[in-house]
């Protein structure tokens, strides 16, 4: 083999390797994009059962029911609501009336079965997706209690 030919082969090998890597990355990417929906979205878009997505909103006051490890509660954007079930220990800052983001799927009865409820690090923290969802549903009030306090108190 001439040197030129060798080099051509090396370059071809390299390019095909890069091509495979790119294909791999992009297909994995497509399969694993997780969309965020508010309860209104879920009601409007008729999402199919069994598809993974993130649900965000407020935990409706008085809706939390615990039975052993199972917790049932209702997530609302103050326009639509959706029942949620989670099995396991909830994060520290899970409270009624507070913002929450959960990963999971709808089951056949339209209940959202959460596999993960996201912990937030600050009591006054509102997940930005939830703030946006509330703004979209027209229920965002700048003075609605803690919801505006995205920053630590005092600052």
């Amino acid at each position: 083999m001439t040197r030129k030919r060798k080099r051509l082969l090396a370059v071809l090998g390299l390019l095909s390797g890069l091509g495979i890597a790119t294909a791999l990355v992009l297909s994995a990417f497509n399969d694993n994009l997780v969309f965020f929906h508010s309860p209104s979205d879920v009601a409007e878009k008729q999402l199919p059962a069994g598809r993974l997505f993130r649900l965000g909103g407020l935990v409706e006051a008085g809706s939390v029911k615990k039975d052993g490890l199972n917790t049932d509660f209702i997530v609302t954007d103050l326009r639509a609501t959706i029942p949620v079930r989670y099995t396991g220990i909830l994060p520290d800052l899970f409270r009624e009336g507070q913002g929450v983001v959960a990963n999971g799927r709808l089951d056949a009865e339209g209940r959202f079965v959460a596999t993960e409820v996201l912990a937030k690090h600050d009591e006054n923290y509102m997940p930005p997706e939830v703030a946006d969802a509330l703004k979209k549903s027209g229920q965002w009030h700048e003075k609605s209690g803690d919801h505006t306090k995205l920053v630590k108190p005092g600052s």
Binding site: V34, G68, L69, H121, Y125, D132
Partner: protein, 659 residues
């Protein structure tokens, strides 16, 4: 008074940074020795001033001077001393001050230790460092002044987020920043080389120690962060592919590639423009990481800044640095011609493969991290990229990488013999087969990933030892010769072997802890027991408990091994008063064989408590592996060849002339 002195010191430092960022560069271009000589002095002066300012802020924290806004917002008199000090960088303004402090220390180190650097190169390196300093100092002074006063002063401060009150996290930011900012030196060397239009083996030899040091610190910083997430968040995981984690991981991947490509420049005088590009990209990714984490684009415990002007400032700075350096690169890189010819099967070929895989992995992480932000900015759609994506991409990319790590060091420069290398790796292949057999036996072939991980570990671990054994002629020569060879082996060679062994440990820890982990979640009443992996947990109950600045509900577990109590675990739910917040304190009993990990949730005596119990075999090997990798880096750093007093450029010029 003292905060004002700190403020003035910062202003003076900015003035000096301007001097350092302009005069030496002009001096080097025009050949004015007086201006060139200003660089080191300005760098040292800047270091003294910023260190003084940092000292002033620390003093305000230690004495709980709540007339300083920053202290009032983030500190509290009841906080233990360690966290008063670490509180200095546990907030936006202070963490930036730490960033700059490290930047100017690195600058001063170049000024002090770079005595045998050519005068113009040194002047340019210091000039670029000065310009970076100008950017960050003006950011602090104009948007995030830590010395702002709060009048009248409150009697008590707001306190530090309890999650951050932790020894692992007290030291996590300094190490991370030592890494991020350390890459600024590689960046400055790259830009200086582009201005000079010259990259040669001597250049690579000067860049490598700085890169290596930064890489070691970053490795430790990431390991500390992951360890913190593991025991403090109480979720049992150690890596979540969270954007904030990715922000530190991307510069690490690029830096690892840079570390290896610089070897090729040094040994073979080729791959130059790629190495320069990597140096630019590595620091750009560090800046991007700072931007992502600090601007509030990503909301997390790290996002202190939610003020949009700050985000815009960092973004502009980022565009300027990345855009400027890449434009310079586009303009100058074609002049950086390599000398050597490339054979794919050679040591340099293996290093190129390493670089390719690391670069693709880095790009994949970048895509997964930035895509949701970009989509949100474009049409407001909210998406997230889950861990599944990163795992799906990362495992196929790192598998050939880890496999090649064992082979690369056995290939010769210029023209390697793959067959011979593989023959020498026979013990590694045997070890791999044994590991696979054990894996098959333990798992009945249920998990392909487990087999892959075990096989790779054995292949890499034994392969690295084979390479070492060949070098010191273990068993092939009398013991005395082996010993003297081992003693004579350069530290860099030891460093490489140790670092590669660290990778093997890391892979082993990840594989075993992921596959053989046992998790039990259930409701338990006092007196009940449950089997978790090889041990039994007995729940004794929950009792109230009071700490220095919190109250807690503390659960008690006895751990039984074959009916005997071997340990007691006390996980807790803490409730802090200032700021009011609850945290979960996992109780962990670590050992080399595996960790016992217990979390107690809500409940009462009547219905029982929700608990989460784990058996996590070999999980500590993950951090141990990372630390051993860093140790390898430090070993290599202590090599005589890399000492900054080492060979001058003249020799390589003579060699070039002779060719």
């Amino acid at each position: 008074m003292i905060p004002e002195l700190g403020h003035i010191a910062l202003i003076l430092a900015l003035c000096l940074a301007l001097v350092q960022g302009v005069l030496p560069l002009v001096g080097a271009a025009r050949g004015m020795p007086g201006w060139i000589a200003l660089g080191p002095q300005a760098a040292l002066g800047q270091a003294v001033l910023v260190a003084f300012a940092f000292g002033c802020l620390t003093y305000a924290y230690v004495t709980s001077d709540f007339s300083v806004l920053n202290v009032a917002e983030n500190s509290h008199t009841l906080k233990p001393m360690l966290y008063k000090v670490s509180g200095v960088w546990g907030n936006h303004e202070g963490s930036l001050l730490l960033w700059i402090l490290i930047l100017v220390i690195f600058g001063a180190a170049v000024a002090a230790f770079g005595r045998n650097l050519p005068a113009t190169l040194k002047a340019r390196v210091l000039g670029i460092q000065g310009l970076i300093g100008v950017g960050f100092l003006s950011f602090i002074l104009f948007t995030s002044n830590p010395f702002n006063r709060l009048l009248p002063a409150p009697l008590e401060g707001n306190g530090l987020n309890p999650l951050l009150q932790d020894p692992g996290l007290a030291f996590h930011p300094p190490f991370l920043y030592l890494g991020y900012v350390g890459f600024s030196v590689a960046f400055s060397f790259a830009v200086a080389a582009l201005i000079e239009g010259r990259v040669d083996p001597a250049w690579a030899r000067w860049v490598r120690p700085w890169t290596l040091a930064a890489w070691c610190f970053l490795t430790i910083g990431i390991a500390l962060g992951s360890w913190w997430a593991y025991y403090e968040l109480g979720w049992g995981g150690w890596w979540f592919w969270d954007p904030v984690e990715n922000a530190s991981f991307m510069p690490w991947l690029a830096g690892t590639a840079l570390l290896h490509s610089a070897i090729v420049v040094e040994k073979r005088d080729t791959l130059k423009s790629w190495t320069v590009l990597l140096a630019i990209l590595t620091f750009s990714l560090s800046l991007l990481g700072t931007f992502l984490v600090r601007s509030g684009v990503i909301n997390s415990v790290h996002a202190f800044a939610t003020d949009p002007t700050r985000g815009v400032f960092i973004l502009l700075f980022l565009v300027l640095v990345v855009g400027g350096s890449l434009a310079l690169y586009a303009f100058r890189a074609p002049a950086l011609q390599g000398v050597g010819v490339f054979a794919p099967l050679s040591r340099e070929g293996a290093l190129v493969l390493n670089n390719l895989l690391l670069a693709v992995a880095c790009a994949a992480v970048l895509l997964g991290t930035l895509y949701p932000i970009a989509l949100d900015a474009i049409n407001g759609a909210k998406v997230s990229v889950g861990p599944q994506y990163f795992n799906a991409v990362f495992i196929p990319l790192t598998t050939p990488l880890v496999a090649a790590v064992a082979i690369g060091p056995l290939l010769a420069w210029k023209r390697g013999d793959l067959a011979a290398a593989l023959r020498r790796l026979l013990p590694a292949a045997v070890a791999m087969l044994i590991a696979l057999a054990i894996g098959l036996w333990l798992l009945d072939g249920r998990s392909f990933m487990a087999l892959l991980g075990l096989g790779l570990t054995a292949w890499l671990g034994i392969g690295a030892l084979c390479e070492l054994a060949l070098r010191i002629k273990l068993f092939a020569a009398p013991a005395s010769e082996t010993l003297s060879r081992a003693r004579g082996l350069p530290r860099a060679a030891w460093g490489m072997t140790v670092a590669h062994l660290g990778v093997a440990l890391l892979v082993m820890g990840i594989t075993v802890s992921e596959i053989w982990q046992v998790e039990v979640q259930q409701v338990m009443k006092p007196g009940e027991t449950v089997q978790v992996g090889p041990v039994e947990y007995r729940f004794l109950g929950v009792e109230p408990y009071k700490g220095p600045n919190y109250t807690a509900q503390r659960g008690r577990f006895e751990v039984l091994e074959q009916g005997r109590v071997v340990r007691e675990l006390r996980p807790a739910q803490r409730r802090y008063q200032q700021p009011p917040m609850e945290t979960t304190e996992a109780a962990i009993s670590p050992s080399l064989l595996g960790d016992l990990y217990a979390v107690v949730g809500e409940g009462d005596a009547e219905r029982g408590w929700a608990v989460r119990l784990y058996w996590k075999p070999l999980v500590s090997w993950i951090w141990l592996g990372a630390l051993i990798m860093a140790l390898g880096g430090f070993l290599s750093l202590s090599d005589r060849r890399l000492r900054v007093g080492a060979p001058a450029r003249r020799r390589s010029e003579a060699a070039a002339a002779a060719e």
